[in-house]
């Protein structure tokens, strides 16, 4: 995690806990931002900044699950680690199903917490990378002409130029021209790369 640009967002209503966790994470060389409530966190934190959130499940007002749902609905990719003083199984199952990185019970061991944070950062960066690639692909796809998009769909579906020409009611030569331009716009050389991009477009 050295030189990591990531930030750890700590959300807990208990000032002592916030202080101690912040201290621990900072001692481990991490950049930490602390929030005293879910509302505060949702309002002020920047979802585009890489990093993860450590959220107390039992917050006054909106609780940890509410934060998770809000972030999901805003399509903010934020890896979340839940902390709870109650530690009941149904809550953990629910949290994990909703995509939490980890569900830790208080008091939490530093090693467990730091390991979770590491995993969360990885997941965060992966997600971010994927999202970035998808966005890039989408932008490239948006630059295609309607005819090029039709050819894109056919190529991804594995059709040959001759078949595509028949499908689109044109000649093979024209198809070759569209295909070359489309491949160039999408930034790929092989059909295999194109198929991988196509998968990104249809999650």
């Amino acid at each position: 995690m050295k030189n990591a640009p990531e930030t750890v967002y700590v959300v807990d209503d208990d000032p002592a806990v916030v202080k101690a966790l912040t201290r621990l994470l900072a001692a481990a060389g991490l950049h930490v931002e602390a929030y005293a409530s879910a509302e505060d966190f949702l309002e002020r934190h920047d979802p585009d900044r890489p990093g993860c959130a450590i959220i107390d499940l039992d917050l006054p007002g909106a609780d940890g699950f509410a934060v998770q749902e809000r972030l999901a609905s805003e399509q903010a990719d934020r890896a979340i680690i839940f902390l709870t003083g109650r530690g009941d199984i149904p809550a953990s199952v629910r949290a994990m199903k909703a995509g939490a990185v980890d569900f830790l019970t208080k008091p939490v061991e530093a090693s467990a917490l730091l390991a979770a944070v590491g995993e969360a950062f990885e997941r965060d960066s992966n997600t971010r990378e994927t999202t970035q690639q998808r966005r890039m692909t989408e932008q490239r796809w948006l630059s295609l002409t309607p005819r090029e998009r039709e050819v894109f769909d056919c190529v991804v579906a594995g059709r040959l130029n001759k078949q595509i020409a028949a499908d689109l009611g044109t000649v093979e030569k024209t198809v070759k021209v569209h295909r070359g331009r489309m491949m160039q716009k999408m930034g790929v050389r092989t059909v295999a790369d194109l198929v991988r991009l196509g998968a990104r477009l249809r999650p």
Binding site: K19, A20, A27, D58, T105, K106, P107, A110
Partner: protein, 622 residues
């Protein structure tokens, strides 16, 4: 009747007249037929003495009773000669003439003679008085019969006034006797008694000198008795007349003497008992009367079987009151003696009544005991019940804690989390260069703070978990409210309920048991949050207030904005097993009220609430 009939017949009237008579007599009454045997018995009783003599009265009682039994319909005529007091021959003649004319022509089934004089009179005049009816006599001594030859249709009950047996009884009762005195009056009858006594007892009896006193005035007899030594036996026979010619009912004379006597008085007559005599070997006059009645009934049926004379039943008769008066040792009383006025006679007399009364008393006692036992059992049950309630209170408290366990774990885990995180930070910092001593010191300070915080939670928890002992101690109601709130903080958070505290600025001193009051407040608070479950979180507010009333009572109210309690359910909510919640036993409020009552306070709901519910806990100020 018969008399009139005879007269009519003698007129020898015509047939019509006879029929008219018959009709008349028939209408006049039953049983007036001339020749046919009467349907009822007619009896003449001649008493020797006057009618108020106790002996005569007792004989009459016995007679009437037995005749009533033996002869269902009987017509009784009684005459009292009183010849003992009026002994002149002129009087006898006058009496004879009078009775002869009075009973002239009347037929009797039996003529009864009571007393030897009466027997003599009846025998002498049976031709004219009583129409030769059979005679039954009684109260006649064997002495007076000895010289007389009785006709076959004369039967009787013979009394044996046994001076010796009476004296034997007296000597037995007074073993230390030094002197025997026998008193008799001056009438002819009295004198004959003295003769009888002299021949029976002699000059000494059982080695005790006997003196015979007679020819004294009643005063003389009294003085003699008064001056007698205590170790004397005084036997009074009869005093019909004293030396001054004053006439007495012998029983009354004996009573006067016995009243002033310094020594116990004895008698041969049952009538003297109850008049101061200690006792005697006697037959009761009543039993003589009974035997005469039975004999008369038998004779009236023409049955003359059996011996001519029978002895009156007699035996030792003793007045218990006199035994007590003279301090005579009861051990001296012969086993066969009958006791008068004996304490136990109450038992003998009223055995049934006593048994019934005793039974009633026993039943009452049993009832009282039963009621008492039931009451004690009830008290014990109540004690047990309150113990059980206490146990229940504990169980419900722990159950409530179970409900809160998540929240409490959270409460405890918060400081533990800080402590652990701080400690691990410290470890990391120790590896860093240069060593940040200031930061390390701060870490350690925080650890100490969090440790204290954790132990506070545990202390509060322990207080709530303490079992039993409901000792009431002086405490602050505000403290109970704030500590309860601290315990429930986490749970309230998770129920997203806000609590507004409005406490009396100064301490509210009461006497109470902290964990129990915490339990009550906690219960009320949780009930409030339950009632507001359906509301959006910002509206979930519970207000807790404390107040010191000016009437010596302190108040704590828990108000919510929930569904409230319907007026008709206000009384019901405190009953056990009444609950509007599915997952509740419904014991919470019942236990709360029990706890509050044990504190001498009350717990109720404000029935004037328009929205929500307001529980009012009232406790006496310390």
């Amino acid at each position: 009747m018969q008399n009139a009939q005879t007269a009519l017949l003698s007129l020898r009237l015509g047939r019509l007249l006879a029929i008219a008579f018959l009709l008349a007599t028939l209408t006049a009454g039953q049983g007036a037929a001339q020749d046919a045997p009467r349907k009822f018995n007619r009896i003449l009783i001649i008493y020797e003495n006057e009618s108020t003599l106790t002996a005569a009265v007792q004989v009459a009682e016995g007679l009437h009773e037995s005749m009533a039994k033996e002869m269902p319909i009987v017509e009784i005529y009684s005459e009292y000669l009183d010849t003992v007091r009026f002994a002149s021959s002129d009087n006898a003649t006058r009496l004879t003439d009078y009775l002869t004319s009075k009973y002239n022509g009347m037929a009797f089934d039996v003529v009864l003679a009571v007393g030897p004089g009466a027997l003599q009179f009846v025998l002498a005049h049976r031709e004219t008085i009583g129409g030769k009816a059979p005679i039954v006599f009684g109260a006649v001594t064997d002495n007076s019969l000895r010289t007389r030859q009785l006709p076959p249709d004369v039967k009787g009950v013979v009394s044996h006034f046994d001076v010796r047996k009476t004296m034997d009884l007296a000597v037995k009762l007074q073993p230390d006797v030094k002197q025997i005195v026998v008193m008799t009056g001056s009438s002819a009858f009295d004198k004959s008694w003295q003769d009888t006594a002299r021949s029976a007892l002699g000059a000494t009896y059982s080695g005790v000198p006997v003196s015979y006193l007679s020819n004294l005035s009643i005063k003389g007899f009294e003085d003699a008795a008064r001056n007698a030594s205590a170790q004397t036996i005084v036997l009074i026979l009869t005093i019909f007349e004293d030396a001054e010619g004053r006439k007495f009912i012998p029983r009354n004379a004996a009573e006067k003497i016995a009243a002033v006597s310094n020594a116990p008085v004895y008698t041969v007559y049952s009538s003297y008992l109850d008049a101061g005599a200690v006792g005697g070997y006697v037959g009761t006059f009543r039993s003589i009367g009974e035997e005469m009645g039975a004999l008369a009934a038998k004779v009236s049926r023409g049955d003359f079987s059996g011996p001519r004379t029978s002895l009156a039943k007699d035996g030792p008769l003793i007045d218990w009151l006199q035994i007590r008066r003279w301090g005579i040792d009861p051990a001296h009383i012969p086993a066969n003696a009958k006791l008068l006025n004996y304490d136990m006679s109450v038992w003998e007399k009223y055995r049934v009544e006593i048994l019934v009364t005793l039974a009633v008393i026993l039943l009452q006692t049993a009832t009282i005991v039963a009621v008492f036992l039931q009451r004690r059992r009830k008290i014990r049950l109540q004690a047990e019940l309150s113990l059980e309630r206490l146990e229940l209170a504990y169980v419900s408290r722990t159950a409530q804690l179970g409900e809160l366990s998540g929240a409490l774990a959270h409460e405890l885990n918060q400081p533990l989390t800080s402590i652990l995180a701080n400690a691990e930070s410290g470890r990391l910092l120790l590896e860093a260069e240069p060593l940040d001593v200031g930061e390390l010191k701060e870490i350690l300070d925080d650890i100490v703070l969090d440790n204290r915080r954790a132990s506070t939670v545990i202390t509060q928890l322990r207080q709530l978990m303490i079992r039993g002992e409901t000792s009431l101690e002086p405490m602050d109601l505000n403290h109970a409210a704030t500590t309860t709130l601290a315990l429930a903080r986490s749970e309230l958070l998770s129920r997203q309920t806000q609590v507004d505290l409005a406490l009396e600025p100064q301490e509210v001193r009461i006497r109470g048991n902290l964990p129990q009051l915490q339990q009550v407040i906690l219960n009320l608070m949780l009930n409030g949050t339950d009632a507001m479950r359906h509301l959006p979180p910002p509206q979930r507010v519970i207000a807790i207030e404390t107040r010191r009333g000016d009437n010596g009572m302190c108040e704590l109210t828990v108000t919510d904005r929930g569904v409230g309690i319907a007026p008709e359910r206000l009384a019901e909510v405190f009953k056990p097993f009444v609950s509007s919640k599915k997952a509740s036993l419904g014991l919470g409020l019942a236990i709360c009220r029990t706890i509050v009552q044990a504190h001498g306070g009350t717990l109720r709901f404000d029935d004037s609430m328009q929205q929500g519910a307001c529980a009012i806990l009232t406790l006496p100020a310390a």
